[in-house]
């Protein structure tokens, strides 16, 4: 029996495992990197061991440090979660060698699936349909488009779509570099790209006694950059006949490698019902909760039970209803999915029925890695939480989940929330017409849901009025006098807000006759307080919940209403000259680490020349010269951490004979 379980992971999945530990009476032990010292999972574990450092390589990927942590805390088993060392056979072996129970499949099974190239051969031999392998050196022109994949990959890293033969070599090289950096193995391979295909996977649970359950399929077609963001079960494209074939293939795959524990066999499903093997994930998947909800199971509890030697019943429980999961990320879909870092100021989801557990019936489940006050760093995956809904049928599930997300208060960081809501409410999604190109086909800008101009203006007006009320209440003198009172009025009060790069100017004046504003037509102020503004908008009374935060970037005002959530950064009344960026300066587009600097002071650069490479959230971004000229200053060096907005380099325009100002 397991008594103390070391969780070799962080965030949401660590909390998920802790929850099951509590159910079973197992003592959970956490490990944590320095940026996670204040994280919820660390506080919730019975004991926690620091892994000094920040980057995954220094911390969660250090097998020996984790095993040492298990030894020091008297843990008798290790759960790897997903990502990090979860599919590292050497780590699994080291855990076993240390006399600990490994919550996962046999290292040999991990290893056999660790190389995607080898895995495909093995599966083909077991009769599982696979796509042909294309050697990166010899792809014929008619075989394009192709998908470049990292053999050791996962999570979309090292994956690239190549449509033009001429671009293949460069993309293969880039994918290889990314794979080398992420997985320590730069091997890549190519496959024909299946367009308008669906990503469908089968949850496998196998015990040590030969019983293999195939717990239905999950569809995970809604992806951004090959990373899943919406997952559901059952798939609207899978009927019982396809399901039987899929589960049969998955069971065959698991049996072929002697799989034990929870795993997932992934397939690409074409419109004609044919499917091809993608890979086996020899671990728990991020999206496991949808399966849990539909089958009424605790997969982590079963992982532990199987690791303890328990036998599965002959047949799995029957599935019922429908479950959908969304992944809430701190990223800006409208700005090229730019990852966000900073403080989560508020995180409230109305109507949550359970956390990390199957809700009892029609319900909302929240598996969250963060809570208000949490810091999201650039070191790890920017996923904040998973929100899962179970309902008797798919439309009900989609509606409940969309509404819950729309009403959530997520403050402090830009998230993909609006995108998720818009997808869940999209007619094509509701019709079950989903495939891996869904976001591209429907237009990211459309789906990313920049708020409607009228919503933006009404929300900005509410923000301004709430902030004014707050300032009045906090004023040290004349606090109770009418807001903005004038005996001679020369102009209204003015404030501007930045909403993801768009500036909204608000004017307002509170007079004896009520609110005067040119920002929103036909608006009447019913009530304004620091945290709540009620406006009558063309006869419709609308309540705005307003929350202001002082952040390093400035005064952030989050406005939540039935019209949607709007995040506004107050434009300062005065620009401090010290903050003004000199012309020609290139600033960091996002926080991250400088990987390399390609230029030196004195270089003559054309506009668009690469200045340096910035790594953020595992993505490498090339920072280019915005203008041509001579490089006057480089303010950063490789290895340096930078914040968004940090001046990286300054380019002086070439003297064109004109006088310099």
């Amino acid at each position: 029996m397991i008594t103390r379980l070391l969780i070799a992971n962080r965030g949401e999945i660590a909390r998920r495992v802790i929850r099951t530990c509590r159910d079973l009476g197992i003592s959970p032990i956490a490990v944590y990197a320095d940026p996670d010292a204040g994280a919820d999972f660390v506080a919730e574990a019975d004991r926690a061991v620091r892994l000094p450092g920040s980057s995954p390589a220094q911390t969660y990927l250090r097998a020996e440090a984790i095993i040492e942590a298990a030894r020091r805390t008297g843990a008798d088993a290790v759960h790897p979660g997903y990502g990090f060392l979860s599919e590292n056979a050497d780590f699994a072996r080291a855990v076993l060698a240390a006399g600990l129970t490994w919550v996962g499949p046999d290292p040999a099974a991990i290893e056999s699936m660790g190389s995607k190239i080898a895995a495909k051969k093995l599966m083909a031999a077991a009769g599982v349909p696979v796509l042909p392998d294309l050697s990166p050196d010899s792809v014929a022109a008619e075989q394009f488009p192709v998908l470049v994949k990292a053999s050791a990959g996962g999570g979309g890293r090292g994956m690239r779509v190549v449509r033009e033969p001429g671009e293949l070599a460069a993309e293969v090289a880039a994918a290889s570099r990314e794979a080398e950096s992420a997985f320590g193995d730069g091997t890549v391979f190519c496959e024909p790209l299946l367009e308008r295909a669906r990503h469908v996977e089968v949850q496998i649970l196998a015990d040590q006694h030969g019983t293999v359950w195939a717990l239905g399929e999950r569809e995970c077609s809604i992806q951004r950059r090959h990373q899943k963001i919406i997952e559901e079960t059952p798939s609207p494209a899978v009927d019982q006949a396809i399901r039987d074939r899929l589960t049969g293939a998955a069971t065959a795959a698991a049996t072929a490698i002697g799989y034990v524990g929870a795993g997932t066999v992934e397939f690409m499903l074409a419109a004609d019902g044919s499917f091809h093997f993608l890979e086996v994930n020899t671990r728990l998947q991020v999206e496991h909760p949808v399966t849990e909800c539909v089958f009424g199971l605790d997969l982590v509890a079963w992982q532990l039970a199987v690791a303890e030697g328990a036998a599965l019943p002959a047949e799995p429980p029957a599935p019922r209803g429908h479950a959908i999961e969304v992944r809430l990320y701190a990223e800006d879909p409208a700005a090229d999915w730019r990852p966000q870092s900073g403080t989560v100021r508020a995180f409230d989801l109305p109507g949550v029925d359970s956390g990390f557990a199957v809700p009892g019936g029609f319900g909302l489940r929240l598996d969250s890695g963060v809570s208000a006050g949490a810091e999201v760093s650039t070191f790890y995956d920017p996923m904040l939480a998973k929100v899962i809904v179970w309902a008797p049928d798919r439309p009900s599930a989609a509606r409940r989940l969309a509404t819950a997300l729309a009403q959530a208060r997520v403050h402090g960081l830009v998230t993909n929330r609006d995108l998720l809501v818009n997808v869940l409410r999209h007619p094509d999604f509701l019709a079950g017409d989903t495939d891996t190109d869904f976001l591209d086909r429907h237009g990211l800008r459309e789906l990313a849901g920049a708020p409607d101009d009228s919503v933006l203006r009404a929300s900005a007006l509410a923000a301004a009025l709430a902030e004014a009320a707050g300032r009045r209440a906090a004023a040290g003198v004349q606090s109770r006098l009418p807001s903005g009172w004038r005996n001679l009025t020369s102009q209204p009060q003015r404030v501007s807000f930045d909403s993801r790069g768009d500036v909204v100017a608000v004017d307002y004046q509170l007079t004896r006759a009520g609110l005067q504003t040119s920002t929103v037509d036909d608006s009447v102020l019913v009530d304004a307080r620091a945290d709540r503004v009620v406006l009558d908008l063309a006869g419709v009374r609308t309540v705005f919940a307003v929350t202001g935060y002082d952040t390093p970037a400035g005064r952030l005002v989050e406005v939540d209403s039935a019209l949607g959530a709007v995040s506004l950064l107050t434009v300062p009344r005065f620009a401090d000259p010290a903050d003004r960026v000199e012309p020609g300066a290139t600033v960091a587009p996002m926080p991250g680490t400088v990987v390399s600097v390609a230029v030196a002071v004195g270089d003559e650069l054309a506009a668009g020349a690469e200045l340096l490479v910035l790594e953020s959230m595992k993505m490498r971004h090339r920072v280019l010269a915005a203008t041509g000229g001579v490089l006057a200053e480089v303010r950063v060096a490789a290895g340096q951490q930078v914040e968004a907005g940090t001046v990286l380099a300054v380019i002086e325009p070439l003297d064109d004979g004109g006088e310099q100002a």
Partner: protein
């Protein structure tokens, strides 16, 4: 504790008529205020904006704390004169970084912000207010200097401006000058004598003599920038403490200067919480009779301006023509003296003198609500010593040292103006309602007096009195007195600090009381000899 109740009935024809009349007067007032707001007119406003400059009030709006109140003072200065309404300068009380300040800004759209005699008087009044209430003085400077056409009225008295500045500094009241443009010749002493000086790069111009005069005086060739640019003063002469990148930056720095003044109110703090009046201030428009000869109950006014409509009357049964009592406005305690039936008799005078002494014993500011036709005249009253008793009241008002605030609600005639703390008695603030009238006596009375005197003179000379001439003379005099006793006329002469909407009375008093409490509040140690 007495909560005042009202007998005002909004449905009566009188009420509706009163309200209509006051609204018409307010509309006329707005039209005059609009002239002050318009500065030098659209052409000059556009030109100023075209130079990338902010208007005086745009500068002030950026200087003040967002959503705080701003009470403009003497906005009608120069009304009824040959000079533009407003006196080419904006003055007022505003809150900067939580500190109530007296803000004075030249209006450069009016003849380049040049000072005329009214600019001067308005500025003097502003410095007086700053001095009496210990308000930091923040000046937004851009002035072409003295308006040369009226230099004879400006040059000699104008020196007081600089004297006041350095005396304020000597009394440790902070002075801040933000220089946006010209501040030359004598004007150069304005930054020269201020505690804190900010100059806008490329805009501020501060020198004793410009290039032409220097050329004439010494033959030296020079530019404006070399003689008095912001860079010169920030880097070389040291006259500027801060070099501002632009106008906004100057205002930003100005706010930081005030934030660092470490300025605290020395008067007692207002109550932390208090109730708003229970009665609607809107009624103030309906309860003032159109005819100034018809008195009205000041308790109806008090009930609409004091906290919770609570008013504890003092000596209610004695000298009932003057209402006295205790109340609070925006959390500040006040003693109120309000005329009830116009006339001040001996009892009223003695009651007032006693009440004023009590307020001084208790360090409570006084609020005078004027609606008086003066002290009673006539044989019986003279014999009973009305002069003596009126003198007691004037003695008490004159020597009282608690802050006084005066609002002219209606009539302010004769020595009643003095006893009820008129302009000459240095109330910290004095505001008028648009219907207010102040004069030595009513127009009809004044014309009648002149008529009687003329008739007596004619009779003495044995001439026949020309009745037609008399009629003509009386009408002319009445019209002239009427015009010269009007609120706007007197406000134009800076005999008050502004004409206000009666519905704003509570707000204006709130700002004034808060400002007044920046300085210590303390009653008089002694009074003049009371003639018993």
């Amino acid at each position: 504790m007495t909560i005042l109740r009202s007998t005002v009935d909004a449905s009566t024809p009188d009420y509706q008529q009163n309200r209509a009349a006051l609204l018409a007067q307010l509309a006329a007032l707005d039209a005059e205020h609009a002239k002050a707001l318009g500065g030098g007119g659209q052409k000059y406003v556009d030109r100023h904006h075209g130079r990338g400059k902010l208007l005086a009030r745009e500068r002030i709006e950026l200087l003040l704390d967002p959503d705080s109140a701003f009470l403009e003072l003497s906005p009608l200065a120069a009304w009824g004169t040959d000079f533009p309404v407003g006196g080419s300068v904006v003055a007022g009380i505003g809150v900067i970084e939580g500190v109530e300040c007296l803000v004075v800004a030249n209006d450069p759209t009016v003849r380049g912000g040049a000072s005329n005699p009214w600019t001067l008087r308005k500025s003097f009044r502003a410095s007086e207010i700053a001095a009496a209430n210990q308000l930091p003085l923040v000046q937004l400077v851009e002035s072409g200097g003295a308006d040369l056409n009226s230099q004879s009225e400006i040059f000699i008295p104008g020196g007081r401006m600089f004297r006041d500045l350095t005396r304020a500094s000597a009394r440790r009241v902070p002075t801040v000058a933000l220089v946006f443009g010209n501040s030359t010749a004598g004007g150069a002493y304005l930054p020269g004598l201020s505690d804190h000086v900010v100059m806008v790069k490329g805009r501020a111009k501060v020198f004793l003599a410009g290039p032409p005069l220097v050329k004439m005086a010494t033959g030296e060739e020079s530019t404006d920038e070399q003689l008095g640019g912001a860079e010169l003063h920030a880097r070389e002469s040291g006259l500027a403490d801060y070099l501002a990148e632009d106008e906004q930056d100057a205002l930003r720095i100005g706010r930081r200067i005030v934030a660092n003044l470490n300025w605290h109110k020395q008067g007692p703090a207002a109550a932390a919480d208090y109730a708003e009046p229970l009665l609607d201030p809107e009624d103030l428009l309906g309860l003032v009779p159109t005819d100034p000869k018809v008195p009205f109950d000041p308790r109806e006014v008090i009930a609409r301006i004091v906290d919770g409509s609570v008013f504890d009357e003092f000596k209610p049964l004695y000298g009932a023509s003057l209402v006295t009592g205790w109340a609070a406005v925006h959390g500040y305690r006040v003693g109120i003296l309000a005329n009830a039936r116009g006339v001040l008799f001996s009892e009223e005078s003695q009651k007032a003198a006693q009440f004023i002494q009590l307020a001084n014993q208790r360090d409570i500011p006084l609020l005078f609500l004027q609606n008086t036709t003066g002290y009673m005249v006539g044989r019986d009253y003279e014999r009973a010593g009305i002069i003596k008793h009126g003198a007691m009241m004037i003695n008490a008002v004159s020597n009282s040292t608690v802050p006084h605030l005066t609002v002219v609600l209606g009539a302010s005639y004769g020595a009643g103006n003095y006893g009820m703390c008129g302009r000459a008695y240095d109330p910290r603030f004095l505001f008028s309602w648009p219907n207010a009238k102040s004069a030595v006596m009513g127009p009809a009375q004044l014309a009648g007096v002149l008529s009687i005197v003329a008739r007596q003179a004619a009779t003495a000379r044995g001439q026949v009195y020309d009745e037609a001439f008399d009629e003509q003379m009386r009408r002319t005099v009445e019209e002239q007195v009427e015009a010269q006793s009007a609120a706007m006329f007197l406000s134009g002469r800076i005999y008050d600090d502004g004409v206000i909407d009666p519905r704003d009375t509570r707000t204006v008093l709130g700002i004034c009381l808060s400002a007044v409490h920046t300085a210590p509040v303390s009653g008089a140690a002694g009074f003049g000899v009371f003639r018993m």
